[in-house]
């Protein structure tokens, strides 16, 4: 195990600037009202940079810059846009470790994950959409001998994107890559909990991007997010977050008759049928890892497998093995390469998780392991750490129904296939789900019966580009991570063309 030096200290791979303004029209612009806010690292709770506190004036300026850039950008050949996305990917790959350290320091997640997942996936995402736009085709339909309907893809123009704090760079990549590929100019607002890493990313790629094609306005939702989401001058709003803000964004969009895509989270079931325990082989080991995936990214994942449903006939044995696997998790300094679970992203996140551990106990859930804040001492004393926690209870408890967004799994048992599906679907949400079985037919039937946009089958928490990701029920609208995302960022232009010299004969 080794430890990366904290950003800005001796031996560090990267440094944050002491202050970040808004990135508008290809340069940094101070906030009109002059306000800044501190940005702490969850690792120690100490601020490491300050961020412009954006307001409506700054948002307007960014939208102006985007509108200036959009027409020319939208006319560039697809090959040129693909080339730019590939260059961004190349630049990121050349600075993978620096980006991984930057992301870990800002969000609190272990650098092991940013090195292996967040940043490589973000890089691949730009490459994927470079390929997708390069190979996209319009269509034509010959309606009769002299009449043809042509369908062209056209960019929307200027789009707004509001990015969550759990994967600041990867979630930005998920939204930026398709929007840019499709020829749109973007005004992006990072989360106020994690506003800095996207600026470090921009420092690496700014020279590649035409001014105004990507603009970043920092600030709070109430002050910068609202004017962006409610602007009549953006053609679309993309948001990842939670239900109330999702509804509010739809409400604003309805006032302007604009489309939205929303990804609003879930309470994902992870189902372990009895045949998982038929042998103590690699598959069994993989299934136990799948159970423990609730702790990935400290549980701060919209698809956290936060409800484990285990068939009664192997319940106790499998759960005991799951507890053992969970207790083997190494928690510690996020910049240690051996750390598996780092810090929660913010203090209010920590407090919310603790409030759920409290109501879970009151409702009668049993704490099988964890259940408290982790006091790691030393320089981590002020950081936001929670011990990986397993709760045992029933599906009607609130800890089974609400996204805790922490390293907490709620476990219950089921009798048979129908019981498993009923429990899995007894939720307001439908984003992710996991099915574990050695029986391919059962896996297929379960996967089709579960009302969720992504059913991981004998795997979990894999996010390859080219596999559509999005929600059923209250988990949102739209699909990311797939070329169908281009449709969310394009208009369809139909040219209906007559090649006939004769008139229709009506007048």
């Amino acid at each position: 195990m080794s430890r990366y030096a904290a950003p800005g200290t001796d031996g560090a791979l990267m440094s944050y600037q002491p202050r970040y303004d808004h990135w508008i029209g290809g340069s940094y612009v101070a906030p009109k009202q002059g306000g800044y806010f501190e940005n702490p690292t969850p690792v120690t709770g100490q601020p490491f940079t300050e961020i412009a506190r954006g307001t409506a004036e700054d948002v307007e300026r960014a939208i102006d810059a985007a509108h200036e850039a959009a027409p020319a950008w939208g006319r560039t050949p697809p090959a040129e846009r693909a080339q730019l996305l590939n260059q961004i990917a190349q630049r990121m790959e050349g600075h993978l470790e620096e980006l991984a350290v930057a992301e870990s320091w800002e969000n609190g997640k272990p650098v092991r994950e940013t090195l292996a997942a967040d940043i490589p996936l973000a890089i691949d995402h730009f490459r994927y959409f470079a390929a997708a736009i390069r190979s996209q085709e319009g269509s034509l339909s010959q309606l009769d001998e002299d009449t043809v309907a042509y369908h062209f893809h056209e960019p929307l123009g200027v789009v707004a994107q509001i990015i969550p704090w759990n994967f600041p760079i990867l979630m930005a990549a998920w939204k930026l890559a398709p929007a840019l590929a499709a020829g749109n100019a973007v005004v992006l607002k990072p989360a106020e909990q994690t506003p800095a890493s996207i600026h470090y990313w921009m420092s690496l790629v700014a020279d590649l991007l035409p001014p105004g094609v990507v603009n970043i306005v920092n600030g709070f939702g109430a002050e910068a997010g609202k004017p962006l989401a409610s602007s009549a001058r953006v053609a679309k709003v993309a948001f990842t977050g939670e239900t109330t803000t999702g509804r509010l964004i739809m409400q604003y969009a309805s006032e302007n008759l604009k489309p939205v895509t929303l990804e609003l989270g879930g309470k994902s079931p992870n189902i372990f049928f009895e045949d998982v325990s038929a042998d103590r082989d690699d598959f069994y080991d993989k299934a136990l890892e799948g159970f423990t995936m609730f702790a990935l990214n400290q549980g701060e994942v919209c698809t956290c497998p936060s409800r484990a449903l285990i068939q009664r006939s192997h319940y106790r044995d499998f759960l005991d093995a799951g507890i053992e696997r969970t207790e083997a998790i190494a928690q510690g300094h996020p910049l240690d390469t051996g750390t598996m679970v780092g810090a929660q992203a913010s203090n209010d996140q920590l407090e919310k998780i603790l409030s759920y551990l409290d109501i879970g106990r009151q409702e009668g859930a049993r704490v099988l392991t964890g259940g408290t804040r982790a006091e790691l001492g030393g320089e981590l004393e002020g950081g936001y750490y929670v011990r990986p926690t397993i709760l045992e209870g029933s599906n009607r408890m609130r800890v089974f129904q609400e996204e805790i967004f922490g390293p907490v799994v709620s476990v219950t048992e089921f009798e048979d296939f129908d019981d498993a599906v009923q429990l899995a679907n007894d939720t307001l949400y439908g984003l992710g789900a996991g099915v574990w079985t050695r029986d391919g037919s059962r896996a297929y039937r379960a996967g089709r019966a579960i009302q969720a946009g992504r059913v991981w089958t004998n795997c979990y928490h894999a996010y390859p580009a080219h596999a559509a990701f999005g929600g059923y029920k209250q988990s949102g609208i739209g699909r990311e991570n797939h070329q169908m995302m281009l449709d969310h960022y394009q208009q369809t232009k139909n040219l209906l063309v007559s090649y006939a010299p004769q008139k229709m004969g009506l007048f």
Binding site: E192, N347, S355
Partner: protein
């Protein structure tokens, strides 16, 4: 809008710290409302808006009207009816903690975040 679940039962309350923050926010933004959020990121938290900013409808219930000393009008607390189906056995107390917040909730720029603390309702 549906009527509150039961006018006889108090379902939501507020701590003194949260009440003080509501007074300050009212001074800046005018009358306020809450809508309880669900889902990921900043979900499972109460969102505070200017009254009427968030449009409630037939899918929402009014869980309570918080009487705050010094404020002429109560602060309404709303939740979607589908979410209430899973929350109805618990009493909620709006508290406030240091934090960065998110969503469009009005308190976030103050460096604090509203938080729900829960207890079981007596049956």
């Amino acid at each position: 809008m549906e009527p509150g679940p039961s006018s006889a039962t108090e379902r939501v309350a507020v701590t003194e710290a949260a009440a003080q923050l509501l007074r300050e926010l009212t001074g800046k933004h005018g009358p306020l409302m809450f809508h309880q959020s669900g889902g990921c990121c900043d979900g499972s938290s109460p969102m505070c808006y200017g009254r009427g900013e968030f449009r409630t409808g037939s899918s929402d219930i009014l869980l309570g009207e918080l009487e705050i000393d010094g404020l002429p009008e109560p602060v309404e607390f709303w939740m979607s009816a589908s979410q209430f189906a899973y929350w109805s056995h618990t009493h909620l107390t709006v508290d406030v903690v240091p934090g960065r917040g998110s969503g469009f909730s009005l308190e976030a720029p103050e460096g604090v975040r509203f938080l729900i603390r829960s207890r079981l309702l007596e049956s």
